[in-house]
């Protein structure tokens, strides 16, 4: 079977890989490029643990073929921190203990970042609807929502 040669950009870095056509972007991120931050929860687009952005648009990397990454700009959770400096969302997730097992966390972080880039001052309802496609079986969501709201406030420069 012929493999496709794909040229793409991941977290700002030009990246190339070879892949078979049936592989998803998630398969290649994890197994080929060893970017294992994106998680495989359901493989059917229901859980959001594999969330990445493609040209700034939030998607499930399990619902996209890896060959479709050609020419695109992809952001994963690995691109959120700057060196050892965590992104404000990551810092607030730690402060609020907004995770327990942590499996959903990378997807929630990527999705929350995409939200705050569009809407720096979301209401709680807007946060909950935006994150409806990110399932968390541990926290009950309240801590996640509080962490996102707090990170949004900090990123706006608002005083708590």
């Amino acid at each position: 079977m012929s493999k496709h040669h794909v040229l793409t950009t991941i977290n700002g870095e030009p990246t190339e890989f070879l892949c078979e056509p049936q592989l998803t972007l998630l398969d290649v991120l994890r197994d080929e490029l060893r970017l294992t931050g994106s998680k495989e929860g359901c493989s059917s687009g229901d859980c959001g643990a594999c969330s990445v952005t493609v040209d700034g648009r939030l998607v499930c990397s399990c619902l996209m073929l890896a060959v479709e990454a050609e020419g695109k700009s992809i952001q994963t959770v690995e691109g959120m921190a700057t060196g050892h400096d965590l992104h404000p969302l990551q810092q607030k997730f730690l402060e609020h203990a907004a995770l327990q097992c942590g499996f959903c966390t990378p997807g929630v972080l990527v999705a929350s970042k995409a939200l705050l880039e569009r809407n720096p001052d979301p209401t709680e309802t807007e946060v909950r609807y935006w994150l409806a496609g990110n399932l968390c079986r541990c926290t009950g969501y309240d801590k996640i929502v509080r962490a996102v709201m707090d990170a949004a406030a900090e990123m706006r420069g608002a005083t708590p």
Partner: protein, 290 residues
């Protein structure tokens, strides 16, 4: 799926040739939010995937002679962000944005929702109520067909193997027109319709409905145009009597199945309620739009 091939043609002609020349099953890929799930589960085993997204014009929204044209592969999120479209067709936009999560909206398209041919597809009743036309391309050239002629049953369409949809054309909006779509699900997000109802109508300056179209989803093998419901509304104001006739006509048009989402009796009852509520919203919206 060991012999799967993928191609992303940059023209309609190339895509049609690829579809016609496939040795086995060929599948058209737009957003992929249904297709990739079916690939993974083994429900579909194509030998070729034809990704249409590199065809010019297949993604994006434009206005032509005062009417909207929506590219077949335009993601739901892009449709939701178009304010002019949402002003003219609020029901179609709200129906489209009900499909899946934020992540799914980043990819899911109208053509995919239609050609997946689920009886519960959210955008399909709204497209039909809007009298949207599909521009279909294939080996025999281009043809324009109403959206309601595409689905022939669950998972089945009337498209030939070398055909696909390139765009949806909405009619020009008359003054005081609006649409609405409501979906009943047991929670608030991320679910599949138990019943969907789309109503598109036009009223005159006195509030009399001059034109109406009522379409139900998830109550039959394909979306149902309820002609009796439309005639129950036309020529009257939306008073209790009109709503009562609408409810009755909507219930009479249902041929649902019982499944885990609802029984036959429940779906029929809810269809009448959803139709009434959607009509009320569309009527109020039409009164505000000039």
């Amino acid at each position: 799926m060991s012999a799967l091939a993928y191609t992303a043609p940059s023209s309609v002609e190339e895509a049609v040739r690829a579809l016609a020349g496939a040795s086995g099953l060929a599948k058209v890929l737009s957003g992929g939010t249904d297709l990739l799930v079916q690939l993974r589960s083994g429900r579909t085993r194509p030998s070729l995937i034809v990704d249409t997204k590199k065809i010019p014009g297949i993604s994006g929204i434009r206005e032509e002679n005062g009417a909207f044209v929506i590219g077949a592969a335009t993601p739901g999120a892009v449709i939701g962000e178009n304010e002019a479209l949402a002003r003219a067709w609020p029901g179609l936009v709200e129906a489209t944005n009900l499909i899946g999560s934020t992540q799914v909206q980043g990819r899911a398209s109208l053509a995919g929702n239609l050609c997946n041919a689920s009886p519960a597809a959210d955008s399909v009743p709204a497209l039909i109520a809007a009298r949207a036309i599909c521009v279909v391309v294939g080996g025999n050239g281009k043809r324009e067909v109403p959206v309601e002629s595409i689905c022939t049953g669950p998972g089945r369409t009337s498209l030939a193997r070398d055909e696909f949809i390139i765009e949806f054309r909405l009619p020009k909006r008359a003054p005081r027109s609006a649409d609405a779509y409501l979906r009943f699900i047991p929670r608030t997000e991320m679910d599949i319709a138990v019943v969907g109802a789309a109503v598109n109508l036009t009223r005159d300056a006195a509030g009399v409905i001059t034109d109406a179209r009522v379409v139900l989803g998830a109550v039959a093998p394909t979306a149902v145009i309820v002609a009796d419901a439309a005639s129950a509304l036309t020529g009257r104001k939306l008073d209790d009597a009109a709503l009562g006739s609408l409810d009755k006509a909507a219930r009479a048009a249902c041929k649902p199945i019982s499944d885990k989402r609802g029984t036959i009796e429940y779906r029929i009852k809810v269809a009448g309620v959803m139709a009434r509520r959607a009509a009320t919203i569309a009527y109020e919206r039409a009164g505000k739009s000039q």
